[in-house]
């Protein structure tokens, strides 16, 4: 198990900066995911760690020892590329054994180990097949087997699931996690898919424009994003402009909202902020039967009256747009009941799930 330390790493392509003095610490045995839109520099970082690129500045250290002077073949890294790039002229067995043979092991001595990893990725008996005789999912599993058979100090995954269809993706995700756990390899995974990141990672970081915007556990990032960009990238959330009244109350277009208390030193009262409320955290209560809805009094405990604008059924869940005094909120609810557009409901916004984000983060720039 290896601890990976990235210190002030910068990289430009033709004077076009891609990474800006990046710092990152990945703990031994950790499954770390770099999440970001394409072009944010995450793949570049992965290639720098693998030694396929050299940084312009900074240092990369495995267990405290700099690896910059070592070429890729001397870093003992297992890497799974976005396209599974199995060598087409080699059988599954030859592909998996490649790393071992490059380390001087004969094909016969390599065979037991090859069979072990093929069993781990559920491809026992596929030894003699050629890559083109395998499905995309099988090829990806061979690529994983080939990367881990060499007992790498570090496993790098570049969008490992992006070429698979939805069902295979679920299987492969589970397999990745099992393999990583059972071998205990420090793993750095790059993806633009937040579901992938959440389900796989122990820790994750969201990257924009060559910088890490936020790093933490998946839960931390979801519950307390530091910026609107992070919150928006993680998706399915409402960002509501508001003004802080005190450390636990904010004024919005539809009235005062009780929020999760935020540190005073960060947010002064009267400051413009954004309230981050994830769609699935808003609860829908059937409307109270009463005639004069317009004058419906503000209810205690963050209850607000709302009207259903639209509802979309999506396998087990219903996605609503709700109009609250002119502000549109997105809400995700379970599907055993469905409110039709025009229905009047009451939304409960749990204060512990309302996090405060500085508004100036919206104009985030590197």
């Amino acid at each position: 198990m290896t601890r990976v330390h990235i210190e002030g790493v910068s990289k430009s392509y033709d004077a076009h900066p891609v990474l800006h003095a990046m710092d990152l610490l990945v703990d031994a045995g950790c499954f770390f995911t770099l999440l970001g839109p394409s072009g944010c520099g995450k793949t570049t970082l992965l290639r720098l760690i693998a030694g396929l690129l050299d940084p312009d500045a900074g240092d990369i250290r495995f267990d405290g020892e700099s690896v910059l002077s070592r070429p890729p073949e001397a870093r003992n890294i297992g890497m799974v590329f976005q396209q599974h790039v199995l060598f087409p002229h080699m059988t599954v067995e030859e592909n998996v054994a490649f790393g071992l043979r490059m380390r001087g092991t004969g094909i016969r001595d390599a065979r037991p180990k090859v069979n072990d990893v093929l069993e781990m990725v559920q491809l026992s008996g596929y030894n003699r097949r050629f890559p083109r005789q395998l499905s995309g999912g099988q090829q990806q599993r061979v690529a994983l087997a080939r990367a881990v058979v060499i007992d790498p100090v570090l496993l790098l995954l570049d969008e490992p699931l992006s070429n698979l269809d939805a069902r295979l993706r679920d299987d492969m995700r589970a397999l990745l996690r099992t393999v990583q756990r059972s071998l205990g390899i420090t793993t750095i995974c790059v993806t633009h898919d937040q579901t992938e990141a959440i389900e796989l990672s122990d820790r994750m970081a969201v990257m924009f424009d060559g910088k890490i915007a936020q790093e933490g556990s998946p839960a931390e990032l979801f519950e307390q994003p530091v910026s609107a960009m992070v919150a928006e990238f993680l998706g399915s959330t409402n960002l509501i402009p508001a003004r802080l009244l005190d450390s636990s109350h904010a004024e919005t277009a539809f009235g005062a909202v009780h929020v999760r208390s935020c540190p005073d030193q960060l947010y002064a009262a009267k400051q413009d902020v954004l309230l981050n409320i994830r769609c699935e955290h808003i609860a829908i209560l059937p409307a109270i039967e009463d005639a004069d809805a317009p004058s419906l009094p503000r209810l205690a405990g963050n209850h607000v009256a709302a009207e259903v604008v639209s509802s979309v059924y999506r396998g087990g869940l219903v996605f609503y747009r709700m109009n609250v005094d002119g502000t549109v909120l997105s809400v995700i609810d379970r599907s055993d009941r469905q409110f039709v557009p025009g229905a009047r409901v009451v939304l409960r916004i749990p204060p512990e799930h309302v996090s405060v984000i500085r508004d100036d983060e919206r104009t985030f720039s590197p």
Binding site: S38, G39, A50, E73, T91, F98
Partner: protein, 291 residues
């Protein structure tokens, strides 16, 4: 559906006929002793003429030591093989750079590589002759092979450039991360994957070299005969459809036919043992731009 197959077969027969027909008069002529207009077939065959003249006729002459066919054949094959290997060896790194990297003056280099194919060979040949006289390598195998590199290297570079363009660099990167140094990457990954292109470059190199007349003629100064220069002597000295000339023409076309069959066999072999030609390997698109 049946109709289409029918037309397809007709087209196939026509194509085969177009390829094979010119050989029929050649084969007939090579076995003839006397064949005058307007006869459809030779009026006297080679075997009928045996013993009637003091000199060997047709194939008998060609296979006699007097004809010089043996050394010319050996020279052609030797020079052809050497040229093919050298041209491919020179083209390999050049093609990799042209396919993989952008550098200032790249277009100029690409154009420069085409120049020997565009410029008349006589111009190239005279220039080389003057240079080679100074270097003292005229009338030598070295000189001839060097001259033959001029028309062969451009083809080899073209063929291998497209091989490298079809070879995703990710294969090399993947091999590096698995512990292969540059030499191992070349040996175990790059060369096997561009093997179809490599073989094509070798075949083309040989075929072009074995057909070059002018450059060989200029540089050899008559000292080293190859099949094309020998053929030219024959044509110069006798009637174009002289039986010996016809026979020699048939012999000259042997290497081409052999390589055609060989490459076809290799392609079949490739399908059966899984060495997919690079051209048919589906290479996934890599996302453009740095990420």
């Amino acid at each position: 559906m049946k109709r289409q197959q029918y037309f397809g077969q007709i087209a196939l027969v026509l194509a085969a006929a177009l390829f094979a027909l010119p050989f029929i008069p050649l084969i007939l002529a090579s076995f003839s002793f006397r064949w005058h207009w307007p006869d459809v077939l030779p009026s006297m065959w080679m075997w009928e003429a045996r013993g009637t003249t003091p000199f060997p006729v047709g194939w008998d002459y060609l296979f006699s030591p007097v004809s010089g066919l043996g050394p010319a054949f050996a020279n052609t094959v030797g020079i052809g093989v050497a040229t093919a290997f050298l041209a491919t060896l020179i083209a390999l790194p050049a093609a990799r750079v042209l396919a993989r990297y952008n550098f200032p003056g790249k277009e100029a280099v690409e154009f420069f590589l085409l120049v020997p194919v565009i410029v008349p060979q006589i111009a190239v040949g005279i220039g080389m002759l003057m240079l080679f006289i100074r270097l003292g390598i005229t009338r030598s195998y070295v000189g001839i092979v060097l001259a033959h590199l001029v028309p062969t290297v451009p083809y080899a570079v073209r063929i291998l450039t497209s091989s490298f363009q079809n070879l995703d660099i990710a294969y090399e990167e993947q091999a590096r991360t698995l512990g292969a140094d540059r030499i191992s990457v070349l040996r175990y990954v790059v060369l096997p994957l561009i093997m179809p292109g490599l073989l094509t470059a070798l075949f083309f190199g040989f075929l072009i070299s074995s057909n070059v007349f002018l450059l060989t003629f200029l540089i050899s100064g008559g000292r080293i005969e190859t099949l094309p220069t020998l053929l030219f002597q024959f044509i110069e000295s006798g009637a174009p459809l002289d039986s010996t000339t016809a026979g020699l023409v048939l012999i000259v076309s042997i290497p081409g036919l052999v390589f055609l069959l060989l490459s076809d066999l290799l392609a079949r072999d490739g399908r059966s043992i899984g060495r997919t030609p690079v051209a048919s390997v589906t290479v996934p698109q890599r996302p453009g731009g740095p990420e």
